[in-house]
């Protein structure tokens, strides 16, 4: 698969989670007004992330959206399983702990996004250095055998 196709597919993948979030929002709107208010407020980090994301693959917003959903999903399920969605939604909205959990999850996503790529860079560079050493050894062998000096 070409690099262009991979990029295209990844862009689609990174958009997918946001589409899922929008679909969930529409479903929640149909079920309960309070639940929709809760979901909208809970997904505010994702909204901000979408506006602030300058990455060509929109990785930041995708990561924060995923972690935002991780934080929101238990509460949505709780509402879904309750007999009165409005009632439960009001309770959840009023609970400070709810917001700490939801925004905390989004914050963890942000932290992960900030640290994980750097870790990968370190590992990747180490792998590249090994590759360079291998090529240089091969080049030196050619030089010694044939007296090539192209540099």
């Amino acid at each position: 698969m070409s690099k262009e196709n991979i990029d295209k597919n990844f862009k689609f993948a990174s958009s997918l989670i946001k589409v899922i979030a929008v679909v969930i929002a529409l479903m929640v709107l149909v079920i309960s007004r309070y639940a929709f208010i809760f979901f909208t407020a809970a997904m505010l980090p994702t909204v901000f992330a979408i506006f602030l994301d300058k990455n060509s693959h929109r990785c930041l917003s995708a990561t924060i959206c995923s972690f935002n959903l991780i934080g929101v999903m238990p509460y949505l399920i709780r509402m879904w399983e309750s007999t009165s969605v409005d009632y439960v939604a009001k309770q959840i909205l009023a609970d400070v702990g709810t917001w700490m959990v939801i925004y905390g999850a989004a914050f963890i996503g942000q932290l992960l996004y900030a640290s994980m790529p750097l870790l990968i860079v370190k590992l990747y560079s180490a792998k590249i250095n090994l590759k360079i050493a291998k090529y240089e050894k091969k080049y030196k062998a050619l030089h010694d055998e044939w007296g090539i000096d192209l540099k």
């Binding site: 989670i17 991780i70 999903m73 992960l112 790529p117 750097l118 990968i120 030089h143 007296g147």
Partner: protein, 676 residues
């Protein structure tokens, strides 16, 4: 090959092994130079034989001079009475210059006792003495003619005297024919010639020089000194005819007048031959008819002068070439020529030249065409003259000398003119005039043409040096590598090169002279084919391989000559060449060690054998280019991998994508876990 070898053997000169001694008999006294006799081509020294009783002169030639070996050999073997004897000759190692030189031993004579010195002292030469002198010199000329030897540089300085009588004619082998002859002694047919191009194969010019010398001897007058320049004298003598001009100046006895009239005749066809002089000496041909200056008055004007003689006009036209190009278009020339005693054919040819319009509209082509027409015209009005072109006149027989002289003078432009003269067969203008200096025998003409047809400028084996060696088979090899050795054969060349290689193995590079000399001796008609490593121009064009090719060829011709030092010297160059041009380290090391091994044995054939397997060099070549390709790929990869920014961006992108994927996985797990 056998035939060529015979030719080469014929050229072998006797060689003396003892320093400064000719044929182990004649000791050259190098501290006793006779400066008065020397010239740019040779030096004279006193010499003595073993007994040290008899004194001789030793002529030590410069190696850059082309000696007339045939003449020297012939005169040494059968001396001509009256001509100073050549006693011996050989190539001798000369201690002062540390070089081998050709040395000729001749009888000694009193250098201050010449006709010129006696005339200078104001001595009177009687008519009887003059007649005796004429008789003696004429006999010398007859003997020399029988041996086909001409151009004896006769003049008062070369006539040796003893007690007021003729003693001998000086040897004339110390210079090129007529090279040092002063203008007044030069026959009209040679007057325009370049000083190195005055050789003719007939005695007419010698008879003219004899006539002038005898006139000077009897009258002790040098009327040519009355003129501001020798050009003025030449103009006057040709305008009046030499005989009429000189005889008008002084009264001489009737009998002597007849001699002068016919020996000083400007027309070589009419000039007396040796037989006529012999008859004169015997008392015949004593009468001379009266002729005044006013005999002919058919005048034509050219450049503010009037001309009434063909020779004087031809001389003026040649010396004013550019003006002549315009002049020959004038129909008055044709009218004038028609009143001269020219053949109908010549007149018709002149008419064609004068009337013929230029075929080209280009100015340059027109000038070239006019120059050719002028050359042709000069050959018609001065039918015994030399081959003339703008700025160059030469006798046809002297082409070998002049072309060599010009090469030594590095005068390439004039060399090209001479080559063009040969290619154009310009001597054809004079084919019917055997006394013309532009005349040449068919055999010589064919030889010159054959050598010139293989000439190719720029080629070492067929270039100008080759042409010079082919035209002058007696010329010693002029290569700097054999400087100090007198090399005239392949055998001597190999020996000399081996000596050089022993002394200077680091500087052993075969030059153009060696290649040209070898090509001429072996009569090679093509460029030297690269037989060693011929598939590799990089190797076959290398001086070491080119040198090896030449040495190999020479050694095939002379297999008995020891060339171990040449092998060692070439091995050094080959080692350096392989060091520079072979690629595979192991193959290079192996090849160089093989060469080192062979060089100690000094066997040329082993080197050739080693280089004959070209596959190993092909493998090296192909392997190198494949390795280069691989190296380039690796280099590009390394370059890509060492681009920090690119690597960081890639890694960061990968990290970001991984983070997204990880977050998706976690989201999925949490969702599933919460639902369950």
């Amino acid at each position: 090959m056998e035939n060529r070898k015979e030719q080469s053997i014929n050229l072998q000169l006797p060689k003396s092994q003892t320093e400064d001694t000719v044929m182990n008999i004649f000791k050259i006294h190098l501290n006793e130079e006779i400066v008065e006799l020397g010239n740019e081509f040779c030096k004279y020294y006193y010499a003595t034989d073993e007994s040290e009783e008899d004194e001789f002169f030793a002529i030590v030639f410069e190696n850059s001079f082309i000696p007339r070996i045939d003449v020297i050999d012939s005169l040494a073997k059968t001396p001509v009475p009256g001509l100073n004897n050549i006693i011996a000759y050989s190539v001798v190692p000369i201690s002062t210059v540390k070089e081998e030189r050709l040395v000729v031993i001749v009888n000694s004579y009193n250098i201050n006792s010449t006709l010129a010195s006696e005339l200078q002292e104001g001595m009177t030469i009687t008519l009887q003495t003059v007649e005796d002198m004429v008789s003696a010199i004429n006999n010398i000329l007859i003997d020399l003619k029988d041996k086909r030897i001409f151009c004896c540089n006769i003049n008062p300085s070369s006539i040796l005297m003893k007690d007021g009588e003729f003693y001998a004619l000086r040897e004339f082998i110390d210079t090129y024919p007529n090279f040092h002859q002063k203008d007044q002694y030069l026959a009209p047919e040679l007057i325009e010639c370049h000083k190195a191009a005055r050789y003719v194969k007939n005695p007419a010019s010698d008879i003219y020089a004899l006539g002038v010398s005898m006139f000077e001897a009897y009258t002790n007058k040098q009327y040519w000194n009355d003129h501001l320049t020798i050009y003025d004298y030449n103009h006057v003598r040709f305008e009046n005819s030499t005989n009429k001009y000189l005889l008008s100046k002084v009264k001489v006895p009737e009998r002597f007048k007849a001699f002068l009239k016919w020996t000083l005749h400007d027309d070589a066809d009419v000039r007396w031959k040796n037989l006529n002089i012999k008859e004169w000496v015997g008392g015949k041909n004593n009468k001379s008819t009266h002729e005044s200056f006013a005999d002919t008055k058919n005048i034509i004007g050219f450049k503010d002068h009037n001309y009434s003689k063909l020779k004087s006009l031809a001389y003026a036209l040649y010396n004013n070439w550019n003006d002549s190009l315009k002049f020959i278009r004038d129909t008055k020339l044709l009218k004038w020529a028609s009143r001269e005693q020219l053949s109908t054919d010549s007149l018709e040819a002149i008419k064609q030249i004068v009337n013929k319009k230029s075929e080209s509209s280009f100015v340059v082509a027109d000038t070239i065409g006019s120059s050719i027409k002028l050359s042709k015209l000069l050959s018609l009005i001065d039918y015994n003259g030399p081959i003339r072109q703008e700025g160059l006149a030469l006798s046809a027989s002297s082409i070998p000398y002049i072309i060599y002289y010009l090469l030594m003078d590095n005068n390439k432009a004039t060399i090209e003119k001479v080559i063009q003269i040969i290619k154009d067969e310009s001597w054809e203008f004079y084919c019917n005039n055997i006394n013309a200096s532009g005349h040449i025998s068919r055999a010589d003409a064919d030889k010159f043409l054959a050598y010139t047809n293989i000439f190719q400028s720029g080629s070492a084996a067929r270039g100008i040096e080759r042409l010079v060696y082919s035209l002058n088979p007696r010329l010693a090899c002029q290569s700097k590598l054999v400087r100090g050795k007198y090399v005239t054969s392949i055998h001597e060349l190999l020996v000399a090169l081996d000596n050089y290689a022993e002394k200077y193995p680091q500087n052993f590079t075969i030059d153009r002279h060696i290649i040209a000399f070898a090509a001429a001796k072996l009569d090679i008609k093509e460029d030297f084919r690269a037989t060693i490593l011929s598939n590799f121009p990089k190797f076959s064009d290398h001086p070491a391989i080119r040198g090896l090719n030449v040495i190999h060829l020479l050694h095939q011709y002379e297999p008995n000559v020891e060339v171990s030092n040449i092998c060692k010297a070439i091995s050094l160059d080959l080692k350096q060449m392989f060091e520079d041009h072979l690629h595979n380290a192991e193959f290079k090391k192996l090849t160089i060690s093989k060469i080192e091994e062979i060089s100690t044995e000094g066997d040329l054939n082993q080197i050739i054998h080693m280089l004959s397997d070209q596959q190993q060099f092909i493998d090296d070549y192909n392997g190198y280019y494949e390795a280069c390709h691989q190296a380039k790929i690796i280099e590009n990869k390394i370059k890509l991998l060492t681009n920090q920014e690119h690597i960081f961006n890639n890694a960061l992108s990968l990290g970001q994508k991984t983070t997204v994927l990880l977050s998706y996985v976690l989201c999925f797990i949490v969702t599933v876990a919460v639902i369950i």
